[in-house]
């Protein structure tokens, strides 16, 4: 059972500081995002609430800046450098993360309790 009625669901809040990697002309962060108020929230496998149109981390490149900084697949991005990310379009989110003059982005993310994640990944076996 993933929940018991009356018991709050625990969530972990994390501050993640990603130092972008310069690759020629590009600044790599090493993760992918999905979601946005202009996207279909029903497709998101990470959200508990299927109407949640927030920005989620859908992939984290192995060994990349995001992974090193502690970002995890399934994290929901709440803020980037102080900018709210809970009510933005997909493109707006992308823009906030890929500013050319910023080498570092500070994210505020929420993550379902570690226990739940571990339990879920064990559940399919």
């Amino acid at each position: 059972m993933s929940f018991i009625p009356g018991h709050p669901v625990t969530a972990v809040v994390q501050r993640i500081e990603i130092h972008k990697l310069r690759d020629g002309d590009n600044l790599i962060l090493g993760f992918s995002i999905g979601g946005g108020i202009d996207q279909d929230p029903g497709q998101n496998p990470f959200s508990e609430d299927k109407t949640d149109k927030g920005i989620y981390v859908t992939r984290v490149s192995k060994g990349g800046p995001a992974e090193v900084a502690g970002l995890r697949m399934g994290d929901k991005i709440m803020q980037v450098n102080g900018w709210d990310m809970t009510m933005v379009t997909h493109d707006q989110a992308r823009k906030k993360l890929t500013k050319k003059n910023e080498d570092v982005v500070r994210l505020l993310v929420t993550r379902k309790s570690l226990e739940t994640v571990v339990r879920q990944s064990m559940m399919q076996h």
Binding site: P5, F31, S32, D40, G42, Q43, P45, H90
Partner: protein, 429 residues
Amino acid sequence: MNKTAKSTCDSDRQSKKVKTSHGSTQGTQGQKADVKGCAAGKDACSPGPERSSESSHTMQKRSQKEAKSTRSDSPSSQQHLMKTSPAEDEKGFYFFQKCKHWNEPHSLGDADLYRDEDEIQKELQDKQQTESVAAGEAQSSVSAAEDLQTYSQREWKGNTTKSLLIRKGYETIASEFKLRRVRGDNYCALRATLFQVLSQSKQLPAWLRDSDIREWPKETQSDQDFIKEWKFPFETSKSKVRHLEQCLERLKQRWEESVQCRSLEQRERLCQEVFRVHDEEYELLEALKFLMLRTAIHLHSDMEKGSDVPEFCWLLFARDSSRCPKTFFTNHLRHVGFSGGLEQVEMCLLGYSLQQTMQVVRLYKCETEEFIIYYPNDHKKDWPTLCLLTEDDRHYNVLVSQNSSKFDEYGRPKWNLPSDGQPSKTTRL
């Protein structure tokens, strides 16, 4: 197993339950059939399908009809008749005490108030027809998976406090599970457990792997001379000890088959083979009862020696009617499947014997701490979990986990299908 301070509350609760309801071990399930029969005649309790036992009893009645027409002379069809007849050893006054729904006006919901008697009857007939069509195709003691919300809305119409509570219970778990209804007889707890074992086991439990369980009946017989009083639901020409050996052998075989299954389809086929109201199914159920007996004997002897035993043992043998394994067997276990089901403390014994944790969702305890209970509750981390559902701690159904895992078997996230055909955008940064 140590008795911990934490579990004293549980034991208080459980012992209360045991004391008040021990009498009802005998024949509550049998009684329910009679109640339903009477209630159908009353005007207040309309003949509409208002509660879950209705459908399980419909299944029961239907399978009875099937048995009569398809196998008139086989022992198992006579068994069906035996199950629905008034319980043996029954004390009359428990009949009324345990008729939970005697006074409950069910379908006084607005819908039924304005529905014609004919309309209600027709709905009932249509329902029975679809069920008997399904049954005709493959008589199974465990139904196919169905949606909990739909089931709950169909079975629990009306706005009594009870209906609302039960529906709320169903709603709470509807996104996590699907329902598979188990035949409504006194074997239902054992049957539901066996079904979950065969449909889910990934490995043999230690006791099955490491011992030759076929030797156990003989050992038990030489220790305690009461196997000769064992009651089987089918006729047997062998000695009872021999027959129990056969039952255990079957169980081991089927369990091994189940862990070797490579796919869900294979497992489902296995379950269809086993759960078709046949002698084999009863052999497996009797094997489970034997395992419970053997475990009870060992636990009791440990208790006498002063060794540590699980909490529930004290409760099991605290009942006046089961102070020792012999009386436990004679007064309780022997009648399971015939005139009685399993009490809560006996569910603990079952889980303990099989080394499986039974996680039971108890709908009538919705909104309390006892909504979900574990039998037994001290091995949640190291024994496999089997999920069952009960509305009333009497009839048990099977819960099948919805595949809510977000990752496939390779650990890749599974994307839900887009509603409009357009995949959701992902951007690599």
